[in-house]
């Protein structure tokens, strides 16, 4: 039973490990995540601009997305990087921070349709930029 418990704990620890050096695979995955957050933000902004969301949902979900993007930006800025991809990683970190601040606007102005409409295109462009970095 003790061996089984140790195995489970080790499994949890190993599975949870997500730090370490940013290599090409990690860059690709993180770029996909930034793209995902930006695209989801664009969907939310689109609904907000049409009045198809609610104030509290828009505020809280935009905050969640913004926080996730910010965490990614910080992690990319702090983790060691494999040689040869430094420029891309820094670019992705700045992009994630940009996405975060755009989503923060949605969080701060959940009922402002004009701001939501204005955020759609920048978020879409950021998603495209993230997609290019993931390739």
């Amino acid at each position: 039973m003790r061996r089984g418990l140790a195995l489970c704990l080790a499994a949890a620890a190993l599975a949870g490990c997500n730090g370490g050096t940013v290599d090409k695979h990690a860059l690709k995955r993180d770029a996909e995540k930034v793209g995902s957050l930006a695209t989801e933000g664009e969907l939310l902004a689109n609904d907000m601009s049409k009045g198809a969301s609610t104030k509290y949902f828009a505020r809280m979900h935009a905050k969640e997305l913004s926080r996730a993007a910010s965490n990614l930006a910080d992690a990319l800025a702090e983790r060691p990087i494999s040689p040869g991809i430094e420029a891309h990683v820094h670019k992705l970190s700045r992009l994630a921070a940009k996405v975060s601040s755009q989503l923060e606007q949605l969080h701060l102005h959940p009922t402002n349709r004009a701001i939501a409409k204005a955020m759609r295109q920048p978020l879409s462009a950021d998603a495209d930029a993230a997609d290019r970095l993931s390739k």
Binding site: A12, G16, N18, R29, E40, D47, Y56, M60, L65
Partner: protein, 407 residues
């Protein structure tokens, strides 16, 4: 009306199939693999129907629930391992569900998360304390049916129906076979989570089922879990239709609700949030009771909501303690969605310890008399036992190899 007597099955299914982890998991499966994993949900639904029907039959004929059988059939030591693993997973899942309730309330109200954790805990405690089992089933089971909005959303998103149909045929078109296997195992494990059968069988005893209720038992199992499977299909189709092409990886409960908002607007969003709230609350109650049922049944205590609190004081104290422990855990800030993913995978490891005794007891003529398993039940039971062993052996390796599904 008899049709309303399937509320037990619906609540067990809602709690088992669309708890916070399943909600995100099903939509993620669609967002990652489109409709390719729909067939896995079918396998899971049939499996849980087979075993829940057995559990309900055991409860109706013998007056005993699953953990009574575990203790009697496996002996004290092995039974204790099954109990401890079940309690750890129950507590993890309960923690996640309470967190999920708080998140849902936050998406509806905008209030601070930590306050809502406390409110969620207090409301759950009050509801469980004052409400009869029948009304708990009805409120949370039928309230969770608001999730049917996802079926409407799925249709409104105009999926390619031929591709959806193809999803019911086992196939794999992916460059990530390990990730596909992880999702398949996770979907199967989530469909057959032990707390579903603990809750279902104990609920059968709570409802005082007898052999004349065997038809009702079958109806509960088929309709309840069939409905749960239908909701899973709807969520996966929403994921495949809305998120896959856009490259969105849904991680949050809000992402799931967005799946109803985009095609249906504000009304879709509100129905989705209300449905999620009832479903996740129902899952919290399922796991809360499952934990208390398992411990009380294993130790031979009086148990059940059909007794007054004074009639089953240790059972009452147990669910109270579990609730407080879970509240404390949620307050640490643990991510409810990630926690329930781990809970599903770890519960998958212990699945054989739950399902083997059920199969043994359901075949035991000294328990079951003329109501013991027929040939069909045994054939299906053995097939699914093999499936369960595969799930049990592969869950943890896949968890590690795919970095908890992050690939």
């Amino acid at each position: 009306m008899k049709i309303f007597q399937v509320a037990l099955g619906i609540l067990a299914a809602i709690g088992g199939f669309v708890d916070i982890g399943d909600l995100v998991f099903n939509v993620s499966a669609g967002a990652t693999f489109g409709y390719q994993l729909l067939w896995v949900v079918v396998i899971g639904v049939v499996g849980i129907i087979v075993y829940s029907e057995m559990c309900g039959r055991v409860a109706a004929v013998s007056g005993k629930a699953v953990f009574d059988a575990v203790r009697e059939r496996l002996g004290f030591r092995t039974g204790l391992v099954a109990l401890l693993s079940a309690q750890v997973v129950n507590l993890m899942t309960l923690t996640a569900e309470i967190g999920g309730v708080a998140i849902c309330l936050q998406l509806l109200s905008g209030l601070p998360y930590r306050w809502l954790i406390l409110i969620a805990g207090i409301v759950l405690a009050v509801v469980v304390w004052v409400t009869s089992f029948d009304w708990i089933e009805r409120i949370f089971g039928y309230g969770g049916l608001c999730l049917l909005v996802f079926a409407v959303a799925a249709a409104k998103l105009h999926p390619v129906w031929s591709a959806v149909g193809h999803g019911f045929v086992p196939h794999m078109q992916t460059q990530s076979p390990l990730l596909y296997a992880y999702f398949a195992i996770g979907l199967l494990g989530a469909a057959m989570t032990p707390y579903e059968v603990y809750f279902y069988s104990s609920g059968g005893v709570e409802e005082r089922w007898s052999p004349k209720d065997l038809g009702l038992n079958k109806a509960n199992a088929i309709i309840g879990y069939g409905l749960g499977g239908f909701l899973s299909f709807s969520l996966m189709i929403v994921g495949g239709s809305l998120f896959l092409d856009k490259g969105i990886e849904p991680e949050f409960l809000g992402s799931i609700a967005l799946g109803a908002e985009v095609p249906l607007g504000q009304i879709g969003l509100l129905l989705a949030l209300v449905g999620i709230l009832f479903a996740v609350s129902g899952a919290a109650i399922d796991t809360l009771f499952s934990g208390a049922y398992s411990l009380a049944q294993f130790l031979g205590w009086e148990w059940g909501r059909y007794r007054a609190q004074t009639g089953a004081p240790r059972f009452t104290l147990t669910w109270g303690v579990l609730l407080v422990l879970a509240l404390g855990a949620v307050m640490t800030g643990v991510d409810p969605v990630m926690l329930t993913e781990y809970a599903v995978i770890f519960s998958a490891v212990a699945l054989p310890l739950t399902y083997i005794p059920i199969l043994l007891v359901a075949n035991d003529r000294s328990y079951m008399r003329e109501y013991a398993n027929g040939r069909l039940a045994n054939v299906l039971g053995l097939i699914y036992l093999a499936v369960i062993v595969v799930i049990s052996l592969s869950a943890v390796p896949l968890l590690i190899l795919t970095n908890v599904g992050q690939n």
